[in-house]
Symmetry: C2
Subunit: 120 residues, 2 copies
């Protein structure tokens, strides 16, 4: 079983957290059979935390987890905090394979996504 | 003359600000003749500010400015702070047409962008 976790920063503003939940639902609709589970988690402030999300996925039998940092820049959260949490998770669950993508802001598609979005 | 401004939050971490500058350059390469100018600005911390960026574009003869908020969520910055600055700019430059896009995180392409990025 494989899973994709969309990992956002987390906000004190509940509407922003709900936007992440809605985004995860849209990704789920689009993904078809590519992932068994598409989930979301927050690095700070909101719940579930990344570790709690991983705990739940492992309980459900997940063996491959892809963490996608939903951040625009490769700051400390992306370069230090997230890898540290994944290191902890890898020690706790040695039979699970973890992959951490680069942050979404640095994806190669972003320039085209920006231009398309600006046209609307 | 028309211009697109990629408006980021701005960071104390200079590398993050440089990522925005590099992104604007990539958008420029991809845009062809769609815009006369593609520029970037920061809402806080870093420079140029949005108003300074607009001042410069107007000096260069720009009559249409599209501001693209490079933010993941529709928080206070997107719903209040940016519209307020654009209101000020519209009063200062009544002959220029301003359009403010929704934040990039809410673009319809985002679920597909996430799935494609996670495959890398």
């Amino acid at each position: 079983m494989n899973a994709l976790i969309i990992l956002a920063h987390g906000s004190r503003r509940e509407e922003s957290n709900i936007e992440i939940k809605n985004l995860a639902n849209k990704v789920k609709e689009l993904a078809g059979s590519e992932y068994n589970i598409i989930d979301y988690a927050y690095l700070e402030i909101a719940k579930p935390s990344l570790l709690n999300c991983i705990d739940n996925l492992i309980k459900e039998g997940t063996k491959n987890i892809n963490v996608l940092p939903y951040f625009l820049n490769s700051g400390i959260h992306v370069t230090k905090d997230i890898p540290k949490i994944i290191e902890t998770a890898s020690i706790k669950y040695p039979d699970c394979h973890f992959k951490v993508s680069n942050c979404i802001g640095l994806t190669e598609e972003m320039p085209a996504t920006i231009l398309n979005h600006a046209r609307l």
